[in-house]
């Protein structure tokens, strides 16, 4: 208790001491320059008093005033304000709302920290994938923005509900992103997307990604009034749904609706509230996101593995786009649209389809019309692994082209977004070929299952599921479902 000052005394006198001190100065006219001593002394208090003068006025000892004043000054001191100077001068001037503190814009809470702790990539693989450009700086949103700029009136999505051009899609995505910001679904937080209405689910997903959220696609029927096991496990901030009648609706997680405040001393709160009322400075959430937009290393998706509600796999924009790139290279460049006529299959099928479509920038048709001479038809079906492993796989089938070549299949799972492909699955002797960038090794002493690793592979399960050590090996290897050694690509 320095100088006999308790916390209660400090709080009681802090405001008046701050007001009377040199911290707040009001000068009326120019009495000193006019040598008007009388007026000057009348105005002394407004211009700021010494600690001894304040003590005399308020009935405390001078050292007590000094102590309280120094503590108040420190507690009010916003330590991040000087960072505004990093963005000013050289022709740039201060404007309200223009400053975004990176520490605040990029701050994450414990739930996000938990999600990001799953990004346990092998350092050597990170260096390799960046060097060989398997991982680029692009995000799914960058691709969307590019298409909106290059072909604003081009059709992006079509189904029986309607159509959206790239520009319309981009506008809708921005709107959803802004609204998510208003819902306090901050950067890095998980949000779930109801995939029931496919046409509307895509803008919702992209809006969430633009807002910096991690998307948990819900591919099973959901109870509208409660969170599913997967949503609870992921600690989603909100669930997004959409329909023709209601383009966006939010279901807020009850946990996230609880507000937590760091208790500040009352006088500090009062002073800051007065400051906020006086000052016209505003920083909106949307401005914050624009200043520090989503990057390739950010989490993009949480995907159900093995259909289990609580086994979720984390994917970044890096891994998703890397996995999709190898597949996209197999698509016929002449085809002007992608047709996807069935459900998305597993969430990994949805995520990969999204990435494929955005890479190509063609029309995505979700209705039943199909003309294989002009469109690439993709279907995704779930099947059990050949090897007896319970890793669930998805096979994406690309329709035959004009010359009647057999369909192409791509093998993927939530853990491995694109590992192998084969032509003519029903042809005799059909075999799996590794996609570009994917490596393979045989397990020691076991020639019945095989390990793969590649740039589209996840680093692990959220929360370190018990299965993790069985599936995810060291140095990025993933124990897979193949029961025959894949061949290397040409």
């Amino acid at each position: 208790m320095p100088y006999g000052v308790t916390e209660q005394i400090l709080e009681a006198y802090a405001g008046i001491i701050l007001d009377l001190s040199l911290n707040k100065q009001v000068r009326r006219g120019d009495p000193i320059r006019h040598l008007d001593v009388e007026t000057w002394h009348k105005e002394r208090a407004a211009t700021g008093l010494s600690d001894a003068e304040i003590a005399n006025r308020i009935g405390l000892a001078a050292p007590q005033v000094t102590y309280i004043r120094n503590v108040v000054e420190r507690r009010l001191f916003r330590t991040n304000q000087y960072r505004k100077l990093y963005r000013l001068g050289g022709g740039k001037r201060y404007r309200p709302g223009a400053f975004v503190d990176p520490e605040q814009a990029l701050a994450v809470g414990p739930d996000v920290e938990r999600l990001r702790s799953a990004l346990d990539f092998d350092p050597a693989l990170v260096a390799r994938y960046i060097t060989d450009r398997s991982w680029s700086s692009d995000t799914l949103i960058d691709l969307l923005v590019r298409h909106a700029q290059q072909q604003p009136n081009g059709l992006a999505i079509r189904d029986n509900s309607g159509t959206l051009s790239w520009q319309e899609l981009s506008s809708r995505v921005n709107d959803i992103s802004d609204r998510l910001g208003e819902q306090n679904a901050g950067r890095g937080e998980a949000v779930s997307i109801d995939l029931a209405d496919r046409f509307h689910a895509i803008p919702l997903t992209l809006g969430a990604l633009k807002n910096g959220n991690v998307v948990l696609p819900l591919h099973r029927q959901i109870d509208k009034n409660t969170l599913s096991e997967a949503e609870q496990f992921a600690r989603v901030a909100a669930r997004l749904s959409a329909s023709a009648d209601e383009p966006v609706s939010f279901f807020r997680s009850p946990e996230k609706q609880k507000q937590s405040h760091v208790r500040q001393p009352d006088y500090v709160t009062e002073i800051l509230r007065a400051e906020a009322n006086r000052c016209d400075e505003r920083t909106s959430h949307a401005q914050g996101m624009d200043a520090y937009s989503v990057v390739g290393g950010d989490l993009a998706f949480l995907l159900n593995a093995n259909g289990e509600e609580t086994r979720l796999v984390s994917h970044t924009h890096h891994t998703l786009l890397a996995g999709a790139r190898a597949i996209a290279d197999m698509l016929d460049e002449e085809k002007t649209a992608i047709l996807h006529s069935q459900g998305f299959g597993e969430p990994c099928g949805f995520a990969v389809l999204l990435a494929l479509w955005l890479r190509r920038g063609v029309l995505l048709m979700l209705d039943a019309e199909a003309d294989v001479t002009e469109h690439t038809a993709i279907t995704a079906t779930t099947q059990k692994s050949d090897s007896g492993s319970d890793m669930q796989t998805v096979v994406m089938t690309f329709n035959p082209s004009e010359d009647k070549r057999p369909a192409t299949e791509v093998l993927l799972s939530s853990e491995t977004l694109g590992c192998a492909s084969r032509r003519g699955p029903n042809e005799p002797g059909a075999y799996w070929t590794l996609l570009p960038g994917v490596e393979f090794r045989e397990r020691e002493n076991n020639r019945t299952t095989y390990d793969l690793r590649g740039p589209g592979f996840a680093p692990g399960y959220l929360g370190g599921d018990m299965e993790e050590s069985r599936i995810f090996q060291s140095h990025g290897w993933v124990r897979t479902h193949l029961n025959a050694p894949p061949r290397k690509g040409d």
Binding site: Q25, R27, R33, L49, S50, K84, Y94, R278
Partner: protein, 306 residues
């Protein structure tokens, strides 16, 4: 005691003024301590430092180069100040007075009062400047401005030598006509508009004079007194239960630059110049920077030749 028996004090004033100019002062003014003491708060007058002081000499040295005003703010935090030049002038003047005239003199420390903390100076150099006529208080938190030299950095010398005082400035260069015009249009001057922490406000009367100047110094300190951050960073590091956060607080780029400035002795007293950057007096006074002063000197030389 030790001083020269017969001194022509008027000549001495001129000689000391000339000496200060030769050492780098742009503005030099004198104020009688009796007058200064009328305006000082108790305990913070010249006689609290030099008990028999008779005269305060206020010295102003010029601000940064013209090019400096064009640089980003974070560059100005390193090169914007010229405080060290004051020391050379003021210290030299104090020695000069004692050496030449035999009167006790001190260079007034422009520092904070060690008993009271970082926001309480020992003396008000602004008061000395205003009474000695080397500057006038501006709308920008009472930063002192000079009609000829713009923004100056101030130092003071206290001496027991009795010298007659100068008059305060007759007119205040602030607000400039353009600032009055802007105020009439939007109710704010350029300095008020461009302060990054919005610490400035006030009003101008119908005659174009400062009616009221309001300065929230505790907000300005957030930009100008970054060293006040350091104990807070250390406290947070001690209290943090997160290793990465502690590493950022202690070893991150900003923390490193604080320690660098502290150990390398880089001027840190004025780290924000945004109100002055947009001030027409600070940046466009006839001899505000070396470009302008050089042009004035050349013009004078040419006219002398002619």
């Amino acid at each position: 005691m030790g001083h020269t028996a017969t001194i022509d004090f008027d000549s001495a004033r001129n000689e000391l003024r000339t000496y200060a100019h030769s050492r780098g002062a742009a503005a030099v003014g004198f104020a009688e301590v009796d007058l200064v003491e009328k305006f000082c708060p108790p305990g913070h007058g010249p006689r609290d430092l030099l008990p028999r002081a008779k005269t305060v000499i206020s010295i102003g040295v010029t601000g940064p180069t013209q090019g400096t005003w064009r640089t980003p703010a974070k560059v100005m935090t390193s090169i914007g100040t010229n405080v060290s030049r004051i020391y050379r002038v003021a210290l030299g003047l104090a020695f000069r007075i004692e050496d030449t005239y035999g009167y006790r003199s001190i260079y007034c420390p422009p520092h904070v009062d060690p008993e009271l903390g970082a926001r309480h100076p020992m003396q008000s150099l602004k008061l000395h400047a205003e009474l000695a006529g080397t500057g006038a208080r501006s709308m920008a938190g009472d930063i002192m401005l000079h009609p000829e030299f713009g923004m100056l950095y101030y130092g003071s010398v206290f001496t027991e030598m009795p010298l007659s005082g100068d008059e305060p400035m007759k007119d205040n260069p602030c607000p400039a006509p353009s600032c009055v015009e802007l105020y009439k249009q939007i109710g704010r001057t350029p300095c008020m508009t461009n302060c990054p922490v919005q610490c400035l406000s006030g009003s101008i009367d119908e005659d174009g004079n400062i009616e009221e100047m309001r300065f929230d110094m505790y907000r300005c300190a957030e930009l100008c007194q970054q060293y006040e951050n350091m104990p807070t960073l250390i406290e947070r590091a001690i209290k943090s239960d997160n290793d990465l956060e502690r590493e950022e607080l202690l070893y991150g780029g900003e923390s490193q630059s604080f320690f660098y400035k502290a150990t390398a002795g880089v001027d840190t007293n004025a780290q924000c110049f945004e109100c002055m950057r947009v001030c027409p007096i600070a940046t466009q006074a006839p001899q505000a920077d070396p470009v302008r002063r050089g042009a004035v000197k050349r013009a004078q030389t040419n006219s002398e030749i002619e």
